[in-house]
Structures are given as structure tokens and as C-alpha cells.
């Protein structure tokens, strides 16, 4: 079985700095991290490989060359090969342009029985990239997956979360699944994999390596949605009376105010 996991290196949302003066976000490569939902997807891929040891697990990332450091962390988990699609012409791609670029890369890499993605990325959070990749590749997909169990080399049993219910399906490969964050615990790296990761270099792909990619459909030019500008929202300033210590009397007054309202 050939399994591909899309893993995005994102800027740590807690460390993002927005400057209202320049209206841009400061992107420091030191604050890159592997998107947590993608790591959950990768863990499921590795579990399939545990069950069928002949399977091969590949990861695909798209971004600047600085992503390589975070990709090494993925290699430590025990994947077979990591691929990084990196090309300046991809800069400014919106979700749809990204889906198109990734699907071209996937087509160039070969045929995969199973493709896994994280459902949301902590930056952006649109969640439309995985279904769009599936559409470009012409395969079935399902989102909001919280469990994957392989039954045999051609069949999986999956659990999908919808509102407050779990729905179980049996699915025949090939399929693309997008996995919810925290649906499993990502394993600890094995020592032999960590040693391998020290000297491992991910395979770098540029747009020139991809067959049949239409460059007019990627980057800023190919994006159909654009951010025109940012604006700050003014929060109305209430004058709130602040009580120190939570005096009993004060709480009684608040309770009375609330009860009057109910």
C-alpha cells in the first residue's frame, strides 16, 4: 500500500505578530511547527504501516526551504520519504491554488492507495484543501475522520464525527481522508529513526519537476480569492466597575441584577 500524508508547516499562532502599521504578519521561520491535525493523520498512516509492514508512507509539504527543519521531526516518526514542494512562484496561493499545486505534485509522485490530511490548519483553518485535492485527483473523500482501521490491503473501516454522533463506514481504496486534530496520540520517535533523521534530506520538488502544471493557476495570479486589506475592529469600551476580592455583598447585588433580568 502506498500512503501519502500532506503535512503543513505553519507559523505558531501564539507567536504570530501582526503589525497594524505595515499591515503584515511577521513570519519567523523559528516559529514554524507541524500542523497538529496533520500529525494525527500521519499517526494513522504509520498505524496502517504497523499492520501492513510492506506499506510505504510518504509525506508531502508545500512551503519555503526553511520547512526542512520541521520535516526532520516527521522523519523521526518513521516515514519512508518526505517531499517538499518549494517554489517562489507558489507564494500568495490561496486555498484553491494550494489544492491545485498539491494535486499536481501528487500526480507527479505516482499512485497512492490512501491519502491522509489534517482537517484544519491552525493558521487559515478553511479545511477546504483536502476535499479539493480529492476532486483534482478524481477520488472519493471523507472529512472529519476520528478513527481509521485497516481491514485488508484494499479496505478500511473509518469513523466520522458529525455534530454529536459518530458514524462508522467501510471504505474501499483509493480514498482521501481528512483527519480531526487529537483523534489519536502521535507516537514517540524511535532511536533508529532519529539517527536517520539527522542526516536525512527531504526530496525537494519545484514547479519545473511537475508535469502538466498550469502556472497561471497558482500563486497570487492563480488565486481567485485575495485579501485586499486588513482592518481593525474597535471594541466598544464599557466602563465596568471592578470589585476587588469578590465581597459577598457585591456578589449578592450581581445575583439580584441577574435574577431581575431572568
Amino acid at each position: 500500500m502506498n500512503i501519502l500524508v500532506c503535512v503543513k508547516q505553519i507559523i505558531d499562532p501564539d507567536k504570530m505578530e501582526y503589525s497594524p502599521i505595515t499591515k503584515t504578519v511577521k513570519r519567523n521561520p523559528q516559529h514554524l511547527l507541524n500542523n497538529p491535525a496533520d500529525l494525527s493523520a500521519l499517526e494513522f498512516a504509520l498505524r496502517v504501516k504497523d499492520t501492513f509492514p510492506d506499506s510505504r508512507v510518504y509525506t508531502l509539504s508545500m512551503g519555503a526551504l526553511e520547512c526542512k527543519d520541521r520535516i526532520k521531526e516527521i522523519v523521526e516518526l518513521g516515514i519512508d520519504e518526505a517531499i517538499l514542494l518549494s517554489d517562489k512562484r507558489l507564494a500568495g496561493s490561496d486555498a484553491s491554488a494550494t489544492s491545485y499545486a498539491l494535486s499536481c505534485a501528487i500526480k507527479s509522485l505516482g499512485k497512492f492507495n490512501l491519502i491522509l490530511c489534517g482537517e484544519h490548519s491552525l493558521d487559515g483553518e478553511t479545511s477546504i484543501v483536502p476535499p479539493q485535492i480529492a476532486e483534482y485527483l478524481g477520488i472519493c473523500h471523507m472529512t472529519s475522520i476520528v478513527d481509521i482501521k485497516p481491514k485488508d490491503q484494499n479496505t478500511l473501516e473509518v469513523v466520522k464525527k458529525i455534530e454529536n454522533a459518530l458514524v462508522r463506514f467501510e471504505i474501499k481504496l483509493p480514498v482521501l481522508l481528512s483527519v480531526k486534530k487529537d483523534s489519536n496520540s502521535v507516537r514517540f520517535p524511535k532511536l533508529s529513526f532519529m539517527i536517520r533523521a539527522l542526516s536525512y534530506e527531504p526530496k525537494i520538488l519545484t514547479l519545473d519537476n511537475l508535469k502538466d502544471i498550469d502556472v497561471k493557476r497558482i500563486g497570487l495570479e492563480g488565486s481567485k480569492t485575495t485579501v485586499d486589506e486588513f482592518e481593525e475592529e474597535k471594541i466598544e469600551n464599557f466602563s465596568c466597575e471592578i470589585f476587588e476580592q469578590g465581597n459577598f455583598k457585591e456578589i449578592e447585588c450581581i445575583v439580584d441584577a441577574v435574577l431581575k433580568y431572568i
Partner: protein, 331 residues
Amino acid sequence: MEYTIFVPVIFKEDKLQKVNSLLSLIESKVSKPKKIIVVIYTNTFLDEVLLNQLKLFDDCQVFIYPNSNFNFYEGPYIEAVTKSIEEFKPQMVVALSDEFMKSVLARVAVRFSAGFVVDCFDIQFDESSEKFIFLKPAYGSNINAKISVKDSPITFVTIKPKSGIECLDDSQRDVVICRRQIEIENKADQISFIEKIVLETIDNKLESAKIVIGVGRGIKDKENLKYAYELASLLGGAVGVTRPLVDLGWADKELQIGQSGKTISPDIYFAFGISGAAHHICGIGKPKILIAVNKNKDAEIFKIANYGIVADATQTMKIFIRVFKERLGKC
């Protein structure tokens, strides 16, 4: 020429009222001459009682497409929405945001090479460029991104409201509702449904609750959540949490209030141990009374609270419970 807006609705044993706020938003923000086509995809029969929940406008048309293949898998809906777009030829496709709908519309958008604005909370029309501008929260702060769409004959949009949208009108209009037939290919050979398990969650009804007890990291321990539930139960309200509590595993994501969680619209909101980070605040709507309790007197939450108490969140919850119990005559 009339601007045609297609509103796909996936009905799953819930209420049709959810559509009303979306229709109100479209009606108020799109002032040009238009046609709003609401299409409901369902696997059950929708009777008059259910259909009467819809608050429609003069420019609305409603179609119902029943099919037994509509269930928990995206596939049949993707086919159906594609067929509807080919039939109605809209310039805009607008739907309420949820994971399932986004998953369906994402693929359909590719089929029509369309731009897709995901999870915006407002639509504006720019007179000078004659284009729609979509507002979306950015970077978890009180900063909004203004997004426009180019090179796209159809614009796909999902709306995730920041707070409750006021429904415009109460009166029933005379809108024709057509029931139609639709053929969907059944891919049962590839995707087979096995079973549905309903999760045992406390019946919270967070999104419709008028009183919400919000709980954040200030409660210090997972055990202390029980006080929030007790207070909520006393007042007939619901409990919600901030993102850190979900990340810590203290509560299910279903209880998360905020940008990447639920949007609520209570009249009364208690914020216990919540700092008031923008990505949480954008989910709490505009409560009439906001009571904030935080150990830090400089916490952002006090900027928007009506009543503020600087104290330990858990201890204060316990006092509130005691006082409410006395006032309400319960023991």
C-alpha cells in the same frame, strides 16, 4: 439582469430555522435586484410544520429535493449541488458554515473553477468596484481581513456569523415551494455505512442558550468544571469553555466558544477565569449582562464586562452558587 443567489441547505433531522438568519443576511447585504433560490436536500419528508419555520422574502424560491441516498457521506450531496448549479445558473452560492457543507461545496467549487470564501461573517458591496467584499476574522485578534473574488463567474461563500444575526421580518410571505425529484448515483460499492453511534454528551444546547457560564484556564483544575455545571443547572443555562480547556482535554470541542469553536448569543454571560482573548470574545455575541471573574485586574475581559470581580474563579463560582440557591429557595 437578475443576480441569482443559490442557497443549498442540507437537512438532517434538525430545524429549518437555521436558514432564516442566512436569508436575512443576504437580504440586507445584497441590495441589487436578485433571486434567492433555496434548495433543501433531505432524505426525509418535510411537512408543512417544518416548512413554516422558514422566514422567506419576496425574491425567494424554495425547492425540495428528497433522495434516500442523502445520508452521512458527502458524495450524493456533491452530485446534487452540482446538478442544481447547472439548473439554476447562480452567480453566488451561499451556505451556513459547517464541516460537512464546506466539504461538499469545496469539491463543487473546483468543478466550476470558482473562488470560495470560507467562513466569513459579513458581506459588503463596494460601489466603486461593483464587487462584493467579504469580511473574515484574521490572526485571532480584532483584525478582520477584507476578501474579494476575481476571475470567477460563480462565487462560493460560507457564512460563520460572529454573533446572532437579527432576523429581518416576522411575516409569512406567499412563496411557492416546489417538491422535485433528483437521481443520484449511489456509490455503495465503495462507501458502505455500518452504524451511527450517538455520543453521550450532556445536553448542553450551547448555541441556543440565553444564559451561558463560560469557563477558562482560571478555574485551575478540570474538577472545578462541576461548579460551572451546577451554576448552569440552577439558572437553566449552558456551559461553554475556552480553547485552552479543549486543548488540555478538560472538555469536548463541542463546548468551545470562539473563533474556531461555537458562536453563542446569550443574554447573560458569566466569564470565570477567562482572560478575554479576542478569538474567544468574537464567539460570545453581545450579551446584555457580562459578568467577569478573573484574578488579574488587567485582564482584557474587564474591558467588555458589565460587572467585574478580581478574585479566584472557582471560589467565586462557589459563592455565586450559594447565593443563587438562597435566592431561588433551593437547598
